[in-house]
Amino acid sequence: MKPSKSVGIVGYGAYVPKYRIQNTEIARVWGNDPNLVPIREKSVPGADEDSVTIAIEIARNALLRAGIDPKDLRAVWVGTESKPYAVKPTSTIVAEAIAATPFVNAADWEFACKAGSETVQACIAYVGSGMAKYALGIGVDTAQGAPSDALEYTAAAGGAGYIIGSAKESLAVIEGSLSYVTDTPDFWRRQHEHYPKHGNRFTGEPSYFKHVVSSSKALMEELGTKPEDYNYAVFHQPNRKFPLEAAKILGFPKEKVIDGLVSPYIGNTYAGSALLGLAAVLDKAKAGDKIFCTSYGSGAGSDSFSLEVTDKLSDRKVKAPSVKSYIERREEIDYARYARYRKKIRM
C-alpha cells in the first residue's frame, strides 16, 4: 500500500526507563534455572513513570529531531496496551503536554504489540491523503508480566514515536506499508485482569512467525524488493530468538538484524518493540540505506514498512538522545524494588 502523496519520517524519538532487572534475578526468586532465561535484562519503569510519561518523552524527542511547530501536528496517536485509564485517552495528555492541542486528532490505539506501528501506518495515510501536514504516531508500553509467568522475564517498558510529513522534508522516505491480520488468540488480557494470558508454544509458529513472515513477504512482493535490497531489517522482538529466526526464514542475514535488536538489553517493550528497534537502526543508518521493518501484535497481525534513508538523517539524529544512550543509562534493581515499582504487591 502506498499513499497518493509521497511521505516519510520527519522526526523520531525513543525512550527507555533507566531501571533494569536481570533475568537471573527473576529466576532466583522463582527457583528457575538461571541458564534457561530468554534475555539478559529488561527495563522497568520507575515509580512515577507510566505509558503517558514515556510517550511524552518520546514525543518531545521526536519534535526535537523534526524541528516543527507542534501546532502543525494534526494527529497525536498513541498505541499501547498499558493505558493508565481504561476509559480516557492517553493521547490527549500527550498532545496537551507537547502543546499540540486543540486542533489535533488524538486517540489511543490497541492491537497488543502492533498498536504502535498501526498509528504510524495511519499517520502515513493521514499525511499521504493531504488531510494533515504532520502526524505523530507513538508505540509505548509498560508491559505486564504475571509474577512467575514466562513473560515476566521479558515484559518491559519503553517505546518510540514517529512524526510523518512530506517526503521532501523527510529523513527517511516510506516506500510502502502493508498489514496482515487474522483472528488468532495467542495472547490476551480481559477487562479488569492485571496480567495477560498466553498460549505457550502457540505464540510461536501459528502466531508470530506466520504473521511476521506473511506480512514481510507480501510487502516485498508488492514493492518488487528482496532481502538483499535492504541494509537493515527490524522485526518485533518479544525475545532474542524470535526476530532472528524470522529473519532467517525470510533470508535476512543476522548482520542486518543485530543493530535493531534491542530486546536482549531492555526486554520486550510490546507496542514499542519494533518501533524502538527501528529507532536504533535510524540512529546508525546513513543516506541511501534501505530499511525493512515488521511489527507483530497478538490477536494477531503484522504491519510491514519499507523505508529509504535520505541525507537529512545525519543532522537530525543527533538532536535527541539515541536508543543506545538510553540502553546504557541503567540502574540495576532487585526483585523487591521491581515488585514495588510494578505494583506487584497487592493488599
Partner: protein, 382 residues
C-alpha cells in the same frame, strides 16, 4: 463365538500440537486411515476411548458425534472412559463386541484434544484421574504422585535416578522410524538428567508430553479377517483390572497390582507366560511407570525393573524390545488415545516392519496412577 478376534485395520494419526484441528477432525482422520488399511468401509459398532473431552474441548457425547461425522450411520457408538487407560479399555470393549458374536466389525477409536486449554488447566484436568478428595484436592498433581512413587522405589530398592531415566532414552531410540510420533529424534541420558526438574526426582524428559492425537483400529473374527489377508493379527488375550484410586491406599505403593492382575488374565487367556512375549508396548508416561510395569507384568523380579534396560535388552535386538514406535514419551501421550496407538503399533510390528521378527507382543495401558490397567496380547495369525 468360538472364533478368534483379529485386527484388520489400523489408522494412526500424527501426534502433536494440532492447533488447526478439532477433536472430530483428528478422530475422523484416523478412522479413514483405518478403513483404507482394512479394505472395508462400514462397521457395526464404534467404541471411543477418550478421557476428558468435556473439560478439554467442552464436548461430550462424542460416540454419536464421531459416528455422525465419520458417516458411520446409525450404529451403536459410545465413549469409554478410564483416564489415560481409556484407549485400552475401549479396545477390550470392542474385542468383547466381536467375541460375543454381537457385531461382525467393530471400530475402536482413541482420541484426545489437549492443547485447546492453557497448561495450568491441563494439569488440573489430568488430576481428575486421581482421587479428587484425597489427592488432587490437596494439590498433588500427577507428576507429583509419580515423583512420590519414584522416590519410594529408589529408596526401597536402592535404585539411582539415572537407572530409571534410561527408559526415555530407550523409547526415543525408536522414534525416528515412527512416522506418527511427535518427537522423531533420539535423546541422550545426559539430556534427560539435565532437563529441568518438574517434581523431584522427575525431570521434564522423564515425562510424556501433552499433545493431540487419534488412533483407530478395526476388529472382526479371524474367519472374516482371512477374507482380507492371509496374515491377520490375532488378539489372543486381554485383561483389565483395577486397583485403589489413590496411591496412599495401596499396600505397596511401588507395585501396580492392576498390572499383575490384568497381565495374569491376558497370559492365561492367550495360554502364554511372560517368556513367550517377544515385544512390548509399555505405558511410559513417567520413567518410573516403565520399571514398575516391567516387574509387575512378570518380566523382572520386584526391584529389578531397570536391570534389562541397563543391559540394553529393551532395544531392538535385545531380549524384550519395548516401545518400538517411541512409546508415550516420544510418540506422545494424547491420554485417551494412547491405548489404541499402542495396539496399532503392535500390529505394525507383528505384521513386520523390517526391524523385528516377533511372533507375539503385548500392550500395557495405564489409567491414572495405576487404578485401571489393561494388558492385551496380540500374535501373528499366519
Amino acid at each position: 463365538m468360538d472364533d478368534n478376534v483379529a485386527v484388520i485395520g489400523v489408522g494412526l494419526g500424527k501426534v502433536g500440537e494440532h492447533w488447526e484441528k478439532s477433536l472430530r477432525d483428528l478422530a475422523i482422520e484416523s478412522i479413514w486411515m483405518a478403513f483404507e488399511d482394512s479394505g472395508i468401509d462400514k462397521v457395526d459398532a464404534l467404541y471411543v476411548g477418550n478421557m476428558s473431552s468435556g473439560p478439554f474441548v467442552e464436548q461430550e457425547h462424542i460416540g454419536a458425534l464421531i459416528a455422525d461425522f465419520a458417516g458411520l450411520g446409525p450404529i451403536p457408538a459410545v465413549k469409554v472412559e478410564a483416564a489415560c487407560g481409556s484407549g485400552g479399555a475401549a479396545f477390550i470393549e470392542g474385542y468383547m463386541g466381536v467375541k460375543s458374536g454381537m457385531y461382525d466389525y467393530v471400530l475402536v477409536t482413541g482420541v484426545e484434544k489437549m492443547t485447546d486449554v492453557l497448561p495450568s488447566k491441563t494439569t488440573s484436568i489430568l488430576a481428575n484421574a486421581s482421587d479428587r478428595d484425597y489427592e488432587a484436592f490437596h494439590g498433588v498433581s500427577f507428576v507429583a504422585l509419580n515423583a512420590l512413587v519414584m522416590r519410594r522405589y529408589m529408596h526401597e530398592f536402592n535404585v539411582k535416578r539415572e537407572d530409571l531415566s534410561i527408559f526415555p532414552v530407550i523409547s526415543h531410540k525408536n522414534a525416528p522410524f515412527s512416522k506418527h510420533a511427535m518427537y522423531r529424534k533420539e535423546i541422550s541420558l545426559e539430556a534427560v538428567m539435565n532437563s529441568p526438574i518438574i517434581a523431584e526426582p522427575l525431570s521434564l524428559m522423564d515425562c510424556a508430553p501433552i499433545c493431540d492425537g487419534a488412533a483407530s483400529v478395526i476388529l472382526c473374527s479371524e474367519k472374516k479377517a482371512r477374507e482380507f489377508t492371509d496374515a491377520p493379527i490375532i488378539v489372543s488375550g486381554v485383561g483389565l483390572a483395577t486397583d485403589t484410586l489413590g496411591v496412599h491406599d495401596r499396600k505397596h505403593m511401588t507395585t501396580l497390582s492392576a498390572a499383575v492382575e490384568a497381565s495374569k488374565k491376558a497370559y492365561r487367556m492367550a495360554g502364554v507366560t511372560p517368556k513367550d512375549i517377544d515385544i512390548a508396548e509399555i505405558h511410559d508416561a513417567f520413567s518410573i511407570m516403565s520399571a514398575l510395569s516391567i516387574e509387575d507384568m512378570g518380566f523382572a523380579k520386584k526391584g529389578q525393573g531397570t536391570k534389562m534396560a541397563l543391559e540394553g535388552q529393551h532395544y531392538i535386538g535385545g531380549d524384550l524390545p519395548i516401545n518400538l514406535y517411541g512409546g508415550l514419551k516420544a510418540r506422545g501421550h494424547p491420554v485417551g488415545a494412547t491405548g489404541v496407538y499402542q495396539i496399532g503399533e503392535l500390529v505394525y510390528s507383528l505384521r513386520g516392519d523390517g526391524r523385528v521378527d516377533a511372533e507375539r507382543g503385548l500392550a500395557e495401558n495405564i489409567g491414572g496412577s495405576g487404578a485401571t490397567i489393561s494388558v492385551c496380547v496380540l500374535e501373528r495369525g499366519d
